[in-house]
C-alpha cells in the first residue's frame, strides 16, 4: 500500500503487552490518516461514557500518507483521544517530524491504552518496542526529560514527553515534541499522565513507498517556487504568526482583558515589530517548509529566556499578553517558556488566568482564596500562578480544571466570565468581529478552536477560494453565507489538513496549497485516483464521525453555544458595537445544520449517514 506502512501498533500499558494490526486500503482511503484514523479508532473502540483519565481511554498518535515526505508540515502527526477538558472527541496536531518518525519505525498509527502501574516510557524502533521504567523521569520538566533521554539514547531519537502538568492531570496539559513543538490543546498531556506514560522515544529507518515520487517531487518544486516568489507567504516568513497581532488589534478582534475588550493600549510593546526588535533570535522551520514561520526568542534581562523552546506564537502572545493585560514582550516569552517546561497549553492557561483575574477584580476570589494578590498585567503574579496551576498548588488546583469546571466550583456568577465552548477555552480571535469564526467556535467538534474553519478575513476579497465556489467577497462582520462557508472550510481546512497531514498556514488563501494540489499530492503518494469531490467527502465523513462520537456522549444543539459575553457589544476599535446575540447564533445554526444534513437538534440524519457511509451510534 503506497503512502502507508499498513500497520498499526497497539500498546496496552495495563497488561504490558504490545501487538500490531494490519490496516487495509478501504480503511485508509475512507479516512486518509491522522485525525481521520484517530476519530474512527476512538469511535469504533471506545465505549461511551468512559472517563478520559481512566485506563479505558485510548490515546492515538497517527501519521498520514504525506508524513513520509518533507513537505510543508506533512511530517507531523495528530494526537487524538477523548478529551479530559471537554469529555468529547479531542485532537491536537503536532508539527515537527514525529509522524515521519512513527512511519520510519514501521507504523502508521500507535494506540496506547490501559495504564502502567508505575511511570514508564516507550521506546520504538524499527526492530523493537519496549516499555521502559521512567521512575527517574517522573517529576521532571519537558526540558529535563529531553536532556536525560537524549543522553541515554543514540543520536537521532525524537522525543515526545509530558511535564509536571501532565503528571498532575491538569486538564489542559500538553505534549511536547523535542521541547520545540507542542500538541497544545484539549489535555492530551493529561491523558498521557493518567496512563503513567512520561515519554515516547522513536527512531527508525523504514521507508514508506511512494507511488509516483517524480510527480510528487515536481509538485513540491512548483509549490516551493511559488512560496518563495509569489509574495503570498512573505509576511508569515518575516514575522511568523506575530504578523497577526497588530492587524487583530486594528480590526478590533484581539481578545483583551478576558474578552471584555478587543483592542490593547500597549499593542506597540507586543506587536510583530516589537517582538522582532526586542526578543527575536531567528527562526526555525518544519521539515521541508520554505516558509520558516517559527520564531525563536532569547533574553537575558529581566528574565532569562532560552531559545531552546522556540518562542511564543501569535496565540500565545495574545493569550499571555492582552488577555491578561500584560504588555511586556519579555514577560510574555517567559510565561510561554514556563508553560512549555511544565507542559501546559498556553491558550487555556492564559484564558484561565484571565478568568481568575476577573474573579479577583470582582471580589469573587479573595487574595486569601488565591494565596496571592493576582492583578491584571502583573508579570510576577502571572508567572507564579502558572507554577501553581502546573503543580496544582493552592488555587492552582481548581484553575487546573479549566474555566468551565473552575467556574462551576467557584460559582457566584463567575460562570459569566468563563470563556469557553464545550469546556475548551476560547482562542485569540474575538468572534464578534468575525461571524464565521463565531459559528466555527460554536460547532467545532472539539470546542472553541481557531483552526477548525478558515477565517472570515480571507474571504473579504474576490476569488478567495474558487475551488469551493468563493469568488465574490464577503465582509467579515456579515452573517450572510457564513454557515455554508464554515461547513465547507471545516471539512477542508479543519479536518483534511490534519488527515494528510499538512500545515494549515500555506493552505490559507491566497497561499499556494490549493485544494486541487492537495488532491494531486494525495494521489501521487498513494497511487489513488481520488477526485476533489471524494476528497472533500472524506473530510465531511470524518467531521460527522466526530459529531457522532460527541452525540453518543450526550452532546446536542445546546452545546453549540457561545459565552453570553459575546452578546454584549464590543466597546472599541474597528469592530465597535459588534455582537453575536443568541438569536443570530440560533439562526446561523439552523442554516448550518441544514447544510450539514443534521436534524434541528444537531444530529446527522439517516440520509446523511447513508451518503457518507456511516452508521448511527
Amino acid at each position: 500500500m503506497y503512502g502507508f506502512q499498513g500497520t498499526m501498533l497497539i500498546v496496552d500499558l495495563t497488561q504490558g503487552k504490545v501487538l500490531t494490526e494490519k490496516l487495509d486500503e478501504r480503511f485508509t482511503r475512507n479516512h486518509i490518516g491522522g485525525v481521520g484514523f484517530g476519530i474512527r479508532l476512538l469511535y469504533d473502540r471506545l465505549e461511551p461514557g468512559v472517563d478520559p483519565l481512566s485506563p479505558e481511554n485510548m490515546l492515538v498518535f497517527a501519521s498520514g500518507p504525506l508524513s513520509a515526505l518533507g513537505f510543508m508540515g506533512s511530517t507531523g502527526m495528530s494526537i487524538v483521544s477523548k478529551s479530559p477538558l471537554t469529555e468529547l472527541i479531542g485532537d491536537s496536531d503536532l508539527r515537527g517530524s514525529f509522524g515521519r518518525d512513527l512511519k520510519s519505525c514501521g507504523y502508521d498509527a500507535l494506540i496506547v491504552r490501559g495504564s502502567a502501574k508505575s511511570p514508564v516510557y516507550l521506546e520504538l524502533t524499527d526492530r523493537s518496542v519496549q516499555i521502559k521504567d521512567a521512575g527517574d523521569l517522573w517529576g521532571k520538566t519537558t526540558a529535563e526529560v529531553q536532556s536525560i533521554l537524549s543522553r541515554r539514547n543514540e543520536k537521532g531519537f525524537r522525543i515526545l514527553s509530558i511535564g509536571p502538568a501532565g503528571e498532575k492531570l491538569v486538564k489542559y496539559a500538553c505534549i511536547s515534541g523535542d521541547v520545540r513543538f507542542f500538541a497544545g490543546r484539549l489535555g492530551m498531556g493529561a491523558v498521557m499522565g493518567a496512563k503513567n506514560l512520561k515519554a515516547i522515544v522513536m527512531k527508525g529507518e523504514k521507508e514508506t513507498p511512494i507511488a509516483d515520487p517524480q510527480a510528487m517531487k515536481n509538485l513540491m518544486k512548483e509549490i516551493h517556487y511559488e512560496v518563495l516568489h509569489d509574495g503570498s507567504c512573505d509576511t508569515l516568513s518575516k514575522y511568523g504568526t506575530w504578523n497577526n497581532t497588530g492587524p487583530s488589534n486594528l480590526k478590533g478582534t484581539l481578545p483583551t482583558k478576558n474578552f471584555q475588550r478587543t483592542t490593547f493600549d500597549e499593542i506597540d510593546q507586543i506587536d510583530g515589530d516589537a517582538m522582532l526588535s526586542r526578543i527575536s533570535a531567528g527562526d526555525r522551520t518544519c521539515p521541508g517548509c520554505p516558509i520558516g514561520c517559527r520564531r525563536v526568542v532569547k533574553s537575558e534581562q529581566p528574565y532569562r529566556i532560552s531559545p531552546q523552546y522556540g518562542g511564543p506564537q501569535y496565540e500565545t502572545v495574545a493569550a499571555l499578553g492582552p488577555t491578561v493585560l500584560l504588555g511586556d514582550a519579555v514577560a510574555i516569552a517567559k510565561a510561554n517558556e514556563l508553560c512549555n517546561l511544565y507542559g501546559l497549553d498556553t491558550i487555556s492557561t492564559g484564558v484561565t488566568i484571565a478568568f481568575a483575574m476577573e474573579c479577583s477584580e470582582k471580589g469573587v476570589l479573595t487574595d486569601k482564596d488565591l494565596g496571592m494578590h493576582l492583578k491584571w498585567g502583573d508579570p510576577e503574579g502571572i508567572l507564579q500562578i502558572i507554577r501553581m496551576i502546573a503543580f496544582r498548588e493552592g488555587a492552582g488546583d481548581v484553575l487546573a480544571e479549566g474555566v468551565k469546571r473552575a467556574s462551576e466550583k467557584i460559582g457566584r456568577g463567575s460562570e459569566e466570565w468563563a470563556m469557553h465552548v464545550k469546556g475548551l477555552e476560547i482562542p485569540m480571535h474575538d468572534p464578534r468581529g468575525k461571524k464565521g469564526i463565531a459559528l466555527a467556535y460554536a460547532t467545532a467538534i472539539k470546542g472553541a478552536d481557531h483552526e477548525s474553519a478558515m477565517h472570515d478575513d480571507v474571504f473579504e476579497r474576490e476569488n478567495a477560494l474558487p475551488e469551493l465556489g468563493y469568488v465574490k467577497p464577503m465582509g467579515r462582520k456579515e452573517y450572510q453565507g457564513k454557515p455554508l462557508l464554515v461547513k465547507k472550510t471545516q471539512d477542508l481546512w479543519g479536518i483534511l489538513s490534519d488527515a494528510l497531514p499538512i500545515c494549515k498556514f500555506p493552505m490559507a488563501p491566497p497561499r499556494p496549497l490549493k485544494p486541487n494540489r492537495l488532491v494531486s499530492a494525495l494521489n501521487f503518494v498513494t497511487g489513488w485516483d481520488v477526485s476533489l469531490e471524494e476528497f472533500l467527502r472524506v473530510g465531511e465523513r470524518i467531521f460527522n464521525l466526530g459529531r457522532l462520537f460527541n452525540v453518543r456522549e450526550g452532546a446536542d444543539r445546546t452545546l453549540d453555544m457561545l459565552p453570553n459575553r459575546f452578546s454584549e457589544p464590543t466597546p472599541g476599535g474597528a469592530s465597535t458595537g459588534e455582537t453575536i446575540t443568541k438569536e443570530n447564533l440560533e439562526r446561523m445554526l439552523d442554516e448550518y445544520y441544514d447544510h450539514r444534513g443534521w436534524s434541528k437538534d444537531g444530529v446527522p440524519t439517516e440520509e446523511t449517514l447513508k451518503r457518507l457511509e456511516l452508521k448511527a451510534p
Binding site: G231, L236, K238, G246, P247, R461, P473, A508
Partner: protein, 92 residues
C-alpha cells in the same frame, strides 16, 4: 488632499515600521505611486503581476469614524483619510 499612511506588521525590510507617511493622492494607486518615491520597492510588493492589489495584503481605509477596505487600486481616497496596510489575517 493629504492622506496619512501607516504600515502594521509588514515590510519591515523596507524600513516602514512605526513611521507615518503623508502623501497627496486621490486614489490608492496614486498613493502607492507617491509612496514608492519614499519607499523604493514598495510597489513591487503591493501590486501583483496582474496589476492588482496583492491579495496577501489588506488596505484598511478610515474616513472620519467609518472604516472599510480598499480592495481595488482605483479606490478613491479623500483629504484627511487614513490608510493602514496590513497582512491578511488567516488564523494561527
Amino acid at each position: 488632499m493629504a492622506v496619512t499612511v501607516r504600515f502594521v506588521s509588514v515590510f519591515r525590510d523596507l524600513g516602514v515600521s512605526r513611521r507615518l507617511f503623508v502623501v497627496e493622492a486621490e486614489t490608492l494607486e496614486k498613493t502607492i505611486d507617491k509612496l514608492e518615491v519614499q519607499i523604493p520597492g514598495l510597489k513591487e510588493k503591493l501590486v501583483d503581476s496582474h496589476g492588482r492589489l496583492h491579495p496577501a495584503y489588506q488596505v484598511i481605509h478610515t474616513k472620519g469614524n467609518r472604516q472599510g477596505l480598499c480592495s481595488k487600486l482605483d479606490c478613491p481616497i479623500a483629504d484627511g483619510d487614513e490608510i493602514v496596510i496590513t497582512p491578511l489575517i488567516s488564523g494561527g
